[in-house]
Symmetry: C2
Subunit: 292 residues, 2 copies
């Protein structure tokens, strides 16, 4: 199986799409990269930075002669996109995506692609950051990062293998998961922390005394709130797309905060220390495991 | 006013106390450092690492010939300590602390020190980390960090200036705040984020599927939960000591999470995006201001 591709179309040339294109170009695994997207200024920057070779006006022009298409837009924009490109998707072209949620993207793909659904290999590279756009793209972004594929029963195994090989070439550790399991896991370890960070920042920033408070915020606050700098539209879409799992996670988190509140109210030092110690042990073990 | 001191006693030679001693020794601002604390093994390591010159068995022996005493233990341990050292504190000795809460420490100092309360200059260097103990101490820890003093009406101005000069010599940006204001501010920007991080880690770690979940946790999770690796006893004490302000903060945070939950439940994409955008703007502005 060859990992080489002729023409790669990237729809949404931001941090994720741009970095993927850049790595494949650098590795000589692609002949030409065509970029499309919603912001002309962003595409011009992508061209200038060499992330893409050609910019086109619309998704149809990008897809029509492509061998592989990567959709790297906020998940809320994908539904329309599937419907637009479905009719013109060449029969030998593999379509993949980088959406942070998978069940809703797959549902949208089924609707938009119809009988061509087997050409769509759903994916999710875990390499988000609080930066975005073509300006943020860089080589090596995926080195050592997870990339999850959630293949469909209709996929040809060799197409899934090909998408896997491309991400692996970028340095990603590729794994396969069932789409529902993917969404449940990421609601807990990614989407919930983002909401919790946004909420804390909003809670403090809305107060009249915020400027004084922020003056004294230190390194703990800096790290805790880093992800509150994430892209609002992207996170709006993820939140709505993974709404069911996220509501479950939010409820569990609020319940845990209320439990903590109860311990404080009762002055239960032993209970607090035990809870903190369990959390710390879990954090230390997690960090040890990921550095091994 | 000379910043030089003869004999410095550090009670609790961990990250905070050990790093303070190390910097003053490196700067030649202290003749001798005496260390005391609760763990003999930690004191031996402090001696071996050159954080202290002498280790003694108890706080009384450390204080009795000291010119300056730094208390750098969890705030819950300070009450007893003030009562123990109060009677033997030499009349010319300045006593200061590094506790993360100030009103409760001051109340404990008033009880334990009695008429010697004027010798106590309350302080709080903002340089905590998820590491602790003598092993974590290092030079330069305070470089560019805030250090808050919350002086008492009974303090001699020259004593406050002297403590300020020592922290400034370590590179800290020293500021003065009223104790109640200090506790209110730090409940919001430090204590609440710590509780929120501990709670999230505990929420996830308690589940049977935690090992699978943690496998896919990425950089956002890493940063959000870094402070969940903090010292359980220290945070038990801070939480109880600043209980009133912290309950207020927890309630506001839970209310904000419930507001977010309501937006998700209602599928209010505009409301979500606006909230995320406000949070992001506040985070970006904060980060810009602190790097200026």
């Amino acid at each position: 199986m060859s990992t080489r591709i002729g023409r790669l179309a990237v729809i949404g040339v931001g941090l994720i799409g741009g970095s993927f294109a850049l790595d494949l170009k650098r590795l000589g695994l692609v002949d030409e990269v065509v970029g499309a997207g919603r912001s002309r200024a962003n595409l011009e920057l992508a061209l200038e930075r060499g992330l893409i070779d050609v910019m086109v006006e619309d998704a149809i022009s990008a897809v029509v002669h492509a061998d592989l298409v990567l959709l790297a837009l906020p998940v809320g924009a994908m539904s329309l996109l599937f419907r637009v490109i479905g009719p013109v998707l060449p029969p030998t072209c593999i379509l993949t995506d980088a959406g942070s949620t998978k069940q809703d993207v797959i549902a949208a793909a089924r609707t938009g692609l119809g009988e061509k659904i087997g050409q769509f290999v759903p994916g999710h590279p875990i390499a988000g950051a609080e930066t975005s756009g073509a300006a943020a793209a860089r080589t090596g972004l995926y080195q050592g990062r997870h990339c999850i594929l959630t293949p469909l029963p209709e996929n040809r195994p060799q197409d899934v293998d090909r998408v896997e090989a491309l991400w692996a070439a970028c340095g990603a550790r590729v794994e396969r998961l069932e789409p529902g399991m993917h969404d449940t896991i990421f609601a807990a370890v990614s989407h919930l922390p983002h909401l919790a960070s946004f909420a804390l920042m909003e809670d403090l920033a809305a107060r009249p005394e915020a400027p004084v408070y922020f003056r004294y915020a230190g390194a703990g606050f800096r790290d805790f709130t880093r992800i509150a700098g994430s892209h609002p539209e992207m996170w709006r879409d993820i939140t709505l797309a993974n709404r069911g799992a996220l509501l479950t996670e939010l409820d569990a988190y609020i319940a845990k905060l209320r439990e903590l509140r109860g311990l404080i109210q009762a002055g239960d030092g032993t209970g607090l220390e035990e809870l903190f110690a369990r959390a710390r042990a879990a954090r230390v073990n997690w960090n040890k495991a990921r550095n091994e």
